[in-house]
């Protein structure tokens, strides 16, 4: 989409030689540049340190730091700790394994996230393919915009608009009643259907964009060549397009899985009495009327470990050779 404007600057690149024209030239020729960036850019060791230091510091301090606080709380017997000093215990973790009450929603969450991920993939793949390969390039941005704009309404609004669609007096039921198809409204809301419908509605974009970006870069010549060799549409899809878009599938699935396992606002609003999932339990431990922070923290850590390792495993299995980092 907007990439075309960005690569624009790239195509007007100057010819060979270290002397650059334009603003880059002005910068690279300045003494300040060669004393700072240039020095770093030309020294392998300085470059390595720069590459390592900043992101590692960021990750250790800001990604791990807060979770470390959470992990510490999960080992306390009480929060805030008693005045005599904190008492550490593993009881909060033990609770999860001893109490079958929490196990079911936990498993339900994992299955739910997996189903949502697969559904989102099936629903958005043809859409992403259509936009990336079939639509004329000059109309592509518009086609993408049409898909993008609805996501700007905000989660709470979008959840309520799903309610307005599916409620007993929502659009679907009103329409069906108008045309005389039904007498009594069909209960569409507050079950697994509305939950899945709503969650995919909220997070489809996390699948769509990675898929689009992966499919878009498949060279059309490859598909043409396959066609010339007599491959039918299904074969072309299975043998050429699918393997070449694997990167997008893997990252889209990871994003959707990770996001959908942590959502709890939408399930709270769209789920029914039998679809309680784990983040709701965690939230109720934090929000509940008695002080259950340590238990809530322990459960979050458990969920975190399990969902991260699921994704890691998935990337290793599905990603295979192309995802070398695992």
């Amino acid at each position: 989409m907007v990439d075309s404007s960005m690569t624009e600057t790239g195509t007007s690149a100057p010819r060979a030689g270290p002397a650059y024209a334009g603003w880059i030239g002005k910068i690279t020729n300045s003494g300040l540049y060669s004393a700072t960036v240039g020095l770093i850019a030309n020294s392998t060791r300085a470059r390595l340190i720069l590459l390592l230091a900043v992101p590692l510091t960021w990750i250790v301090v800001l990604h791990v730091g807060p979770i470390y606080q959470m992990a510490r709380i999960s080992l306390l017997d009480n929060y805030p700790p008693a005045a005599e000093g904190p008492v550490y215990t593993l009881d909060n973790y033990r609770l999860f394994f001893q109490e079958p009450l929490y196990f079911l929603p936990f498993v339900r969450s994992l299955i739910f996230a997996a189903v949502v991920t697969v559904a989102a993939l099936v629903v958005t793949y043809p859409v992403a393919y259509y936009v990336a390969k079939i639509i004329k390039p000059q109309n592509r941005t518009r086609a993408l915009l049409l898909l993008l704009i609805p996501f700007w309404a905000g989660e709470i609004i979008r959840t309520f608009s799903v309610i307005m669609l599916l409620a007993n007096r929502g659009a679907v039921n009103v329409l069906l009643r108008e045309i005389g198809f039904i007498d009594r409204p069909i209960p569409l809301l507050y079950n697994y259907f509305s939950l899945g419908f709503g969650v995919i509605y909220l997070i489809a974009l996390y699948m769509l964009l990675p898929l689009y970006s992966a499919i878009e870069k498949i060279p059309p010549q490859l598909i043409d060549a396959a066609a010339d060799l007599g491959a039918g549409p299904f074969q072309r899809f299975r043998r050429v397009i699918l393997p070449l878009s694997k990167d997008g599938i893997v990252s889209g699935c990871s994003l959707v899985y990770l996001t959908s396992i942590g959502v709890f606002a939408a399930p709270l609003l769209l789920g029914g009495p039998n679809s309680v999932i784990f983040p709701e339990i965690i939230a109720s431990l934090f929000h509940g009327s008695s002080d259950k922070w340590p238990e809530g923290a322990a459960f979050s850590i458990l969920m975190l470990v399990v969902s991260l390792s699921t994704v890691g495993l998935f990337m290793r299995v599905a990603g295979g050779r192309s995802v070398r980092l695992m």
Partner: protein, 263 residues
């Protein structure tokens, strides 16, 4: 342009696109319709129509300030998260770095933690570091949450980048910084745009983190949540509709610009 498919699959693909567009737009159309309802709660049938909610919203200083504040935070978040996300992705994709899988897992951590947990742990953490709450803390919290999205998007694209591109640039005399600016960044552009969209979206939609890290100036989602608490009124729908119209206008303008500049 060649047809990769015979007409039947192509029509099916086209249909799937339009069905998906309807799936995305239909609920929002209902929401927009409700913003014209002359009552205090949203419901069918709409009955009396009014423009009163819009008149109220465009004069609502709190709404305008909250929108501006949200946009400001989202822009800052996008800038910082994109830089840090690309940096981390480069680190992970670099050859010969030990423990890349672990770094990747840790880089994704903030995306996995449910918002509430993330917000509370962040609040305790910045108290430990003695960082004051307010605009800076919100931006920090949003950035931490947005970084994994950039990392995943950029890594996906980075993996398919031909190594010889950079080598060629080096051969032409570019130092590695210049090669990065002139070769890597343009190659990453689609992934960057995608990542930035995620940054803006997660930031502008975030409620829990903002509540825990913020000061006394409400962002748009905070305002909307607080209003929903008093009942789902068409006023909230009018706000959301205005947000959509402005976003669509900005999007179309950008599209218009790229189209003109290409020709």
């Amino acid at each position: 342009m060649r047809h990769y498919f015979s007409d039947a699959p192509k029509t099916a693909l086209q249909a799937s696109y339009w069905v998906f567009v309807i799936y995305l737009l239909l609920p929002l159309t209902l929401m927009t319709a409700m913003s014209f309802k002359d009552a205090n709660f949203i419901a069918f049938p709409i009955g009396d129509w009014t423009l009163g909610w819009y008149a109220k919203v465009v004069q609502d200083k709190q709404f305008l300030e909250a929108s501006g504040y949200s946009i400001f935070i989202a822009l800052m978040t996008t800038i910082f998260a994109t830089i840090m996300g690309v940096w981390i992705a480069l680190l992970i994709s670099a050859e010969g770095i030990w423990g890349r899988a672990a770094i990747f897992a840790l880089a994704c951590l903030p995306a996995v933690v449910p918002g509430l947990i993330n917000a509370i742990s962040m609040r305790i953490f910045i108290r430990v570091l003695d960082i004051p709450t307010g605009t800076g803390a919100i931006i920090l919290g949003h950035t931490v949450h947005a970084v994994p999205f950039v990392v995943i998007m950029v890594l996906t694209r980075l993996r398919s980048m031909p190594n010889n591109l950079i080598d060629a640039a080096r051969d032409l005399g570019a130092d590695s910084f210049i090669a990065f600016i002139r070769i890597t960044i343009p190659f990453l552009a689609p992934a960057l745009v995608g990542g930035m969209i995620f940054c803006v979206l997660t930031s502008i939609d975030d409620f829990v983190r903002t509540f825990f890290l913020g000061g006394y100036q409400p962002t748009l989602p905070m305002l909307i949540f607080a209003k929903v608490q008093g009942g789902m009124s068409p006023e909230i729908n009018a706000m959301a509709t205005l947000v959509l119209i402005v976003t669509a206008a900005v999007g179309l303008y950008a599209e218009h610009f790229t189209r003109r500049s290409r020709t």
